[in-house]
Symmetry: C2
């Protein structure tokens, strides 16, 4: 059985995987001729090699240092610089054609982001200019360090809302200077969190917020924001005649918006309509002085570029811990959004995003932002989509946007003083309604009910409780799913597909026939402490169930239990102990254990733990077919395996 | 390709799994003849069936209600009663022979537990009689409700130490009445925790404390306890001449103990020597009145059975939350120990332990215990082993022990007043040294380095910080391992074993040959949100690496990527999105995606998400062999697959 043949003998040797029209002759042939291959252990590695491999696979699976290998010192420096500032990499090949695309898309997202910035700042209970500040500095920093070509950086609705909620929980008076300082503190620590995750290569942690949870969370946050704004939008109605204009404009805006959704080449209508709304309505209010008749307007907005704010950050005192906590939460949420956007567009254009480097870029951006009067910035879904559709080529579109913002801050900011709040509210509503992804929710329901549950949990959590509770529910449900995965792996009973040597799940392939006198069970997971007892019990339960079934049908009783271990990529000491227990239990029942296709790590650990000896070297096979053909003729009393 | 053949046609059809001495003719044959089986979806289940199945598999995998099916009402009642009180089940077949075994083992563990009880109570900073109380009531309750036949119930060293540490952190004055009340409160909530876990069928949660972590934790706790006691043991030397006797006795005891370890039939020497030590030393002290010369003795011990203590439990006030917290921790640790013992002995005698029912039994026992002046009881490693070796048959041995304890409490307790503390210390040391399992630690090192790390983390955590920190480290490392498992699943490149149609990991089987123009990658895990991006990136990285390798060796470039999905038992929406992204990236690279053997759930979700259409129905195969033989002849330019 475990004899090794030379490669030359291969052609003549008959194999048990062979298909033959006569199953009886096949088995006889197999009994006589030995199998060609035995289960082999991989080349032995030293502990250090082993550890290094695992460590690299865990933290450096993207091989970020691969390109530094075999390079000269000066070249290494250039590569390192390019690695931290990708702009020096792609910048060399930058040309006029690319710039044309970036200029147009940059101008488009600038016109979209200015009204959004003003509006979102209000969600965070900050003065409107802070939104504009954030859209000036943050994209500039990102353009030098980020690796996404399509993301549009700036303040976003959900993070603004989250920040506003968390900050005002801490400091009730949102107009106080302490509130502003805490906002900068939170931004600083959001950046530090993001940098730390990237530098420590723990980027995979954000994968724990599942797609499903994000869909629900975003939808819930969007509805919360929309309802908040609607209140403001409707509240105005009783005071003024101006609402007519505004509501007309709002409907114009929303019609344009929907038109754009239907036809992709009309996207620019959606992109610039908010700006037009703002300009027209601001002009109307200015002309008619509607603000004196009760129309609420922005009123306070400061002209000029970002003032320095490094000295405003709390590095001690009572608010430090609150700042860290809020920064941590909002930093993680911001990261999730940015990485999701980055990945989506990277897949569309097939370039790769280095998640960890991306986090360092976003983190640096927010740390610098916190020192220049910005609050937490990240990638915006709506503006990134517009950026992509307007034909952006590189992050230069962010630089263009940034320059437009600079001009805005220097020159026209004071004009926004007369912008009616209602228009801003409608801009927010229009923007956040895009975040409600009903199609995605329906798809979740269709594909995976558990995902749908996570989505709804997050959704209703945000709507009925708060953004934090929603987030917590989303994470908790995601973790519950992982717990299920690691404690309750699947097992399957296999049968032989008639006319082949292929063994498949009998539930999936009703034609697959079980072998008399044998039970074949496949374990579909690595065997770890978290599931080893369950797997052992489950295998024994399959055995008991099948024995009861077969007793009634006059089949020979089960003498061999074949455990197909192909999917078992790893086993730990608890798993080894579970196997020992399984062997003991099987011994009491007079059932022999056969093992098929243990993987490299498993067979190595079987050897190390001397389990190979307990099972018997001759009971470990390369394939299920080998095991069946070796022992199938004996226990089955000559019955055909294909019956 | 996806044509279905009738079963009758099977015998004549030639299959791609066939082995042929001429590989070229094989491929030609396969190109002409279609495959017999296509990938099938399992019978469609309704949402409710699906949910019910998953729910049952998660929480009722042991099918506890199976036996109630198709039974009459009165029979159901009897079965229900037997299910809550297994004693009514096995009690009917109980006979004199069994009783003989139980009587001897019961007397043996009683003689072992009396000195241990007195000693362990001191670890928990309680008066000695509380140890005896606990060994009277708790085993009695367990005997009626528990399902293990070999476990010996009572106070144990580690839980006593943990409880003593946690309680005295809360209340410094361990002699105060509040301390005692808090101990009962913690015991009550430990019981409630255990009951709740069992009733809610969350028993699998204790599996998260891995075997490795427990080995380290126990070892650390044992050394901590031993060092503590050694201090007491050595401290006495300076005061008295009596130490000579004591140290002689200690060496006698330890010699006997080691003798017993070597020869299994001498186990009773180890079992009764503590009792003999206590009797002899107590007698010596009483005769010589050594206590007046400085030998520390027990001094205070109360005669009589357990007083009621229900009214002592804090159900409100400041200590309630502390009681709940301490109860939760100690309840979980106690549970882990009891379940580990139960499983070990159940595997030895091949009977099954219902983990959840066991938890209800242990929980009820501690709740009743907390009302009758007991503190947290659980299964003791040392006494259970003695119980097993003395030939116990059922839980009646616990009842016997309980009666001996009753007599002890009623009659001879006052005599223990003169027992020297040093003897108790040596009894504790001898008992806990058994918990240091160096062999297990060596095995951990050999089998799984990560397990060894968890073990050492817990070990040094307990020794250098505290039992709680050690426990925390153990749980944290265990969780880290699970995180790794779910975020970094393994993938493998497969090759064809020469002379067979078997595809195996090329790293494990260096002879396995890759197919020109094709790359075969196996994914070894369910694809969930936590790993979907990693898997996608990893597959693309395999592709990139292989392309670089093959370019240099003049092989044809890769045109087909075959993803072997046998081990992928489930996929969620994030996984589906990752596949969509993979398809997009492959399209840009001009590589076709072929899928081999998706499982029942995966193929169903592929259909639901319309991914089947994107991949192409004709690109989903039953086996890797099918995929290779269908497309292998085209892209490979006629090169032999076995080259």
């Amino acid at each position: 059985m475990s004899q090794v043949f030379s490669d030359g003998a291969v052609a003549r040797a008959m194999d048990t995987e062979e298909i033959n029209s006569n199953p009886t002759s096949r088995r006889h042939g197999a009994d006589v001729l030995p199998h060609i291959h035995k289960v082999s252990s991989p080349p032995k590695q030293t502990l250090f090699q082993d550890f290094k491999h695992n460590f690299n696979e865990t933290f450096f699976s993207d091989d970020p240092f691969g390109k530094f290998k075999d390079q000269k010192g000066s070249r290494k420096f250039v590569l390192g610089l390019q690695s931290v500032f990708p702009i020096f990499d792609w910048g060399r090949g930058y040309n006029l054609k690319s710039f044309k695309g970036d200029l147009i898309s940059g101008l488009t997202i600038a016109s979209l982001c200015i009204p959004q910035d003003i509006a979102y700042a209000k969600l965070a209970h900050l003065d409107p200019q802070y939104g504009l500040y954030t859209s000036f500095i943050a994209p500039l920093v990102y353009a030098f360090m980020g690796s996404s070509r399509d993301i549009a950086i700036g303040p976003v609705a959900v993070v603004s809302l989250l920040l506003g909620t968390l900050l005002s929980d801490e400091i009730k008076d949102t107009k106080s200077h302490e509130y502003l300082r805490l906002a900068f503190t939170a931004t600083f620590f959001a950046g530090i969190t993001q940098m730390a995750l990237g530098l420590l290569r723990l980027g995979f942690l954000i994968d724990f917020l599942s797609h499903a949870a994000i869909v629900g969370f975003m939808g819930g946050a969007a509805i919360t924001i929309a309802l908040q704004q609607l209140k403001g939008l409707l509240g105005i109605k009783n005071f003024t005649t101006k609402t007519d204009i505004i509501s007309v404009m709002r409907s114009v805006f929303s019609v344009a918006h929907h038109g754009a959704k239907k036809k992709k080449n009309l996207f620019w209508v959606a992109a610039i309509s908010p700006m037009i709304c703002v300009i027209v309505s601001t002009f109307c209010v200015y002309i008619t002085r509607a603000d004196k008749k009760g129309v609420a307007i922005v009123r306070h907005i400061k002209k000029g570029v970002n003032p320095a704010s490094a000295s405003e950050i709390y590095f001690s005192g009572n608010y430090l811990s609150a700042g860290i906590r809020i920064g941590l939460i909002s930093g993680m949420v911001a990261l999730t959004e940015a990485v999701a956007i980055g990945r989506t567009f990277a897949a569309m254009k097939d370039y790769s995003i280095d998640g960890n480097r991306e986090m360092v870029a976003l983190g640096t951006m927010n740390v610098i932002g916190s020192m220049t009067s910005c609050y937490v910035a990240t990638g915006s879904f709506s503006r990134s989509a517009v950026n992509y559709m307007a034909g952006c080529k590189t992050a230069v579109s962010n630089i263009v946007m940034s320059f437009v913002l600079l001009l805005t801050l220097l020159v026209i900011t004071p004009l926004f003083k007369y912008t009616p709040n209602a228009v801003l509210a409608s801009i927010i509503i229009a923007a956040v309604l895009n975040l409600i992804d009903i199609k995605a929710a329906i798809l979740l329901w269709k594909i995976d009910k558990f995902d749908f549950l996570a989505c709804m949990g997050a959704f209703f959590g945000v709507i009925f409780k708060s953004v934090e509770i929603g987030l917590l529910i989303a994470v908790a449900i995601s973790f519950a799913k992982i717990l299920l995965q690691v404690t309750r792996p699947r097992t399957a009973v296999l049968g032989k597909l008639p006319g082949t040597a292929v063994y498949r799940n009998v539930l999936q392939y009703p034609k697959a026939a079980q072998i008399p006198g044998m039970l074949i069970v496949r374990v579909d997971s690595a065997i770890y402490f978290s599931n080893s007892n369950y797997i052992k019990d489950r295998i024994l339960k399959w055995l008991t169930d099948e024995e009861i079934l077969r007793t009634s049908s006059e089949y020979p009783s089960i003498q061999y239990l074949i455990v197909e271990m192909s999917p078992v990529t790893d086993i730990d000491t608890s798993g080894i102990h579970a196997f020992e227990d399984l062997l003991k239990s099987l011994k009491k029942r007079d059932v022999q254990l056969l093992v098929a296709n243990p993987g490299p790590i498993v067979i190595e650990k079987f050897h190390a733990s001397k389990l190979t000896g307990l099972i018997g070297e001759d009971k470990i096979f390369l394939t299920v077919g080998d095991a069946v053909s070796t022992f199938g003729g004996k226990g089955a009393g000559g019955k055909s395996a294909d019956s």
